[in-house]
């Protein structure tokens, strides 16, 4: 199931990038997609971490939510940058990630880094070391709102 979906996705990617639909090129696309899947299996990357089909359904609502978060915090960082007195208060903190899978934890860490104003600088076990541009950003993350949202996304499938 995972291999079939990976092959289908790779083939769709091929079609989208090529834009030519002659029988010869489409056949070449199918062969390449299947060959890539076999290579991925041999490299042991076609697993729940490398191709997390379980997460696709949750992603439909998760990514719009994340984009909105990025827009909000991007705007607040913009205001800090343009403020004449540059009111930064760099803060480091540790937050706990409640996700169960590696893909879920990576999503959480990357989401923290993607939202301007906060970034994950270190991971040990289930604890992330966070650097935040302003103190409020660190406090928000400690509150765990984003952590719960990512766990919900992980569990949605």
């Amino acid at each position: 199931m995972r291999y079939v979906s990976l092959a289908g996705l790779l083939f769709a990617f091929w079609l989208a990038l090529s834009g030519h639909y002659t029988p010869m090129l489409v056949t070449a696309g199918v062969v390449c997609a299947v060959a890539c899947v076999f290579a991925a299996i041999r490299m042991r990357v076609a697993d729940p971490e490398g191709h997390p089909i379980e997460l696709f359904r949750g992603a439909i609502t998760y990514f719009p939510w994340l984009f909105w978060e990025i827009a909000k915090s991007g705007w607040s960082v913009t205001r800090v940058i343009l403020h004449p007195s540059l009111p930064i208060s760099p803060t480091m903190t540790v937050v706990r990630a409640s996700q169960k899978t590696a893909a879920g934890m990576a999503t959480y860490a990357n989401s923290i880094t993607l939202t301007p104003g906060t970034m994950t600088v270190g991971v040990s076990g289930d604890e992330f070391t966070i650097h935040a541009l302003v103190r409020d950003g660190a406090i928000d993350l400690e509150g765990g709102g984003m952590d719960r949202r990512v766990s919900q996304f992980e569990g949605a499938a």
């Binding site: 989208a16 990038l17 834009g19 984009f67 990025i70 827009a71 991007g74 705007w75 960082v77 913009t78 940058i81 343009l82 540059l86 930064i88 208060s89 760099p90 803060t91 480091m92 903190t93 540790v94 937050v95 706990r96 860490a109 990357n110 880094t113 993607l114 939202t115 301007p116 104003g117 906060t118 970034m119 994950t120 600088v121 270190g122 040990s124 076990g125 604890e127 070391t129 650097h131 541009l133 103190r135 660190a138 400690e142």
Partner: protein, 121 residues
């Protein structure tokens, strides 16, 4: 209709340019490497995002827009990895972030970073 799309497209591209400029401006204004990375992240999320969205409106509904969206996805998946690698490299080099407040010991979590010796405390 054509005019409205054109106006929206240019609006988004100008907005993207604005955030790119803000990111560059912040890069100059911020005092040290970690805070500079925060400024740069405005450029590669909001700046790139609005620019690519504006370009999608210019390109219309088709393969070009799809490729632009692939580009955006690539940005969104690689940017955090690069940021993380850069931050780790800085910590390994012994560059200490200037902090207004260090809450690492205050959250009830153990400070168990393998870099303890070289990290600021």
């Amino acid at each position: 209709m054509r005019l409205a799309v054109e106006i929206a497209s240019w609006g988004f591209m100008l907005l993207g340019s604005f955030f790119t400029l803000v990111g560059a401006f912040g890069l100059v204004r911020m005092p040290e490497v970690f805070t500079r990375m925060h400024a740069a992240s405005v450029t590669d999320t909001l700046g790139v995002g609005f620019l690519i969205f504006g370009m999608c409106l210019q390109a219309g509904f088709g393969l070009v827009s799809l490729k632009l969206l692939f580009l955006l996805a690539l940005f969104f998946f690689t940017a955090p990895v690069v940021t993380h690698a850069l931050a780790q490299a800085c910590l390994h080099e012994g560059i200490k972030p200037q902090l207004a407040e260090d809450r690492r010991g205050m959250t009830g979590a153990r400070p168990t970073d393998p870099d303890d010796g070289r990290q600021p405390s």
